[in-house]
């Protein structure tokens, strides 16, 4: 009986493990089949000559190049704001906060993690309304606002992964560092952070992925269908996930729908590239 149960459990575990790659292959295959034929230079740059767009900043009207740039800028901005904040908060929770403070902070972060992204978008929108009515009548939804709201959205991933990575380090490492006369901060900076880098980076990767693919937040905070390449932090912009949503919801011809699939492929590739870059960075940062 026990033997049979074990066999069943093993079979179920295998099946579950195989299901994930199978589903991934199905989704990617579907995307490739529908999107690959449209994946041409015209998809990127429309009627504009690519070199003119790349080198001289010639405006692109029917291509996804501005959306690619918009998403890249957005992700970079979010990383710039969220990574230092998230890692620092994680360090605080793991190393400095104690007792009730730790409980209270952890509770807040769990709450933040539970907020749906559309609500975060609404918050950004309400923030702009507030600013316009109070001390910044010129304020409008823009790239910076989107990045700010996305930062709020991804912060919990970063905080939790940093905290977990540091807290799960063996006590021996701490004792060793302290026994060598390192101060608490030196211990964190020189021993604990490098040793927990892989865990922290998995949080960074999650956060980057989330920032690149989120549509709900940017929908409310500054993304538009036609803005060209983003000119400044306070300008409107285009982004890949919104472009896909827009095309899929309002396509006029089968060709436009195919474009949406191709754009989805590009987004997938872009996220993959970002993750690869993060992994390379992680390998470079490991202690030598």
């Amino acid at each position: 009986m026990a033997d049979r149960q074990e066999k069943l459990s093993v079979a179920f575990a295998w099946l579950s493990a195989l299901l994930v790659p199978a589903l991934l292959a199905m989704v990617t295959g579907f995307l490739l089949r529908r999107g690959l034929p449209s994946l041409q230079v015209a998809l990127w740059f429309g009627d504009t000559p690519p070199l003119a767009a790349l080198l001289h900043g010639a405006p692109v009207f029917d291509g996804i190049w501005p959306a690619c740039l918009g998403t890249l800028y957005l992700v970079a901005l979010v990383a710039l704001m969220a990574v230092p904040l998230g890692v620092a908060s994680g360090i605080f929770l793991a190393e400095y906060a104690g007792g009730r403070t730790k409980l209270a902070f952890s509770f807040c972060i769990e709450l933040l993690a539970g907020i749906p992204s559309i609500l975060m978008g609404l918050f950004g929108f309400a923030l702009i309304l507030f600013l316009r009515r109070s001390f910044a009548p010129e304020a409008n939804t823009c790239l910076l606002l989107s990045a700010f709201c996305l930062t709020l959205l991804v912060l919990p991933y970063l905080i939790s992964s940093t905290r977990l990575a540091i807290e799960s380090l063996p006590d021996a490492l701490r004792l060793t560092g302290a026994s060598l006369g390192l101060s608490h901060w030196q211990l964190i900076r020189r021993i604990l952070l490098p040793a927990s880098a892989p865990g922290i980076f998995s949080g960074v990767i999650l956060a980057i992925g989330r920032a690149a693919e989120d549509t709900a937040v940017i929908l409310m905070t500054g993304v538009v269908a036609n803005a060209g390449t983003p000119g400044s932090l306070t300008a409107k912009y285009e982004a890949l996930p919104f472009h896909i949503y827009y095309l899929a919801a309002e396509y006029q011809s089968p060709a436009e729908l195919a474009q949406a699939f191709a754009t989805a492929l590009v987004l997938l590739a872009l996220t993959g590239l970002l993750l690869l870059a993060a992994r390379r960075l992680q390998a470079g940062l490991e202690i030598k």
Partner: protein
């Protein structure tokens, strides 16, 4: 013999549970002084109370007095004015299992020197070489200093840890079962090293091995349940049969 460590009514508890209670003892300079006792009798906690390392573990509370002679001065380890990082540099510690940092062989020694003592690179390197020679590891590793310390054998790792501690130029060395995780040969090398080091440092060794204590200890304490500590005279602990019969009574 001059005293190097004075412990007065020391109590240490973790999350309210006493590990050491009202313990007083005096340890002579030089040594090696051995501290033996059953598992869980509080040997390691006593050792860590001397360089205040217990404080790095959650829920620790310490009371009583620990005085250490560093240079010509007596330092109250738990006084508010005592700089704990400085204290730990001068009261070095080697742990039971070799705890090399995930760094290269050379960086294992250099990093604390550069970070904790703010030594310039060339001085840190010179000190690292000196420390590695002191533990007779230099010839074995001089061509592979940039390799990960984890590639060394267990015995070599333990000698590297000893070198790392010596490079900080401590005056007192606390050794927590330094040979427990090593094979016979590697353990013997560490024992030989301890005999070499005893003229320059005050050595306090926690050990499970009565044989080892008999071979190299100058004085020996037996700790019982974190409360009673008994000093054995040299003629008792060097006589194998006398030692075993006393230990049977005490433990």
């Amino acid at each position: 013999m001059k005293a190097a460590i004075r412990v007065e009514k020391l109590s240490v508890s973790f999350a309210g549970k006493h590990v050491i209670r009202h313990l007083s003892l005096e340890i002579a300079s030089g040594g090696p002084t051995f501290l033996v006792g059953r598992s869980g009798s509080g040997k390691t906690t006593l050792l860590r109370a001397l360089n205040r390392l217990n404080e790095c573990l959650p829920g620790c509370a310490t009371s009583g007095q620990v005085e250490l002679r560093l240079g010509e001065q007596w330092v109250d380890a738990y006084a508010a004015t005592t700089n704990v990082e400085n204290l730990r540099r001068r009261v070095g510690m080697v742990f039971q299992s070799p705890n090399v940092l995930p760094l290269s062989i050379l960086r294992n020694i250099e990093m604390p020197l550069k970070v904790a003592l703010s030594l310039p690179a060339d001085e840190a390197e010179a000190r690292a070489e000196q420390a590695l020679r002191e533990v007779h590891l230099w010839d074995e590793v001089k061509d592979r200093l940039s390799q990960a310390a984890s590639t060394l054998s267990g015995g070599q790792q333990q000698r590297l840890c000893l070198a790392r501690t010596l490079a900080l130029r401590p005056q007192i060395l606390l050794l927590d079962e330094p040979t427990a995780s090593l094979d016979f040969k590697a353990a013997q090398r560490i024992e030989d090293l301890l005999l070499e080091l005893k003229s320059r440092y005050t050595l306090l060794v926690v050990s499970h091995s009565l044989g080892q204590a008999r071979r190299i200890a100058e004085s020996l304490f037996v700790l019982h349940d974190g409360e009673r500590i008994e000093a054995l005279s040299k003629d008792v602990f060097q006589d194998r049969d006398a030692l075993f019969s006393v230990m049977d009574e005490l433990i």
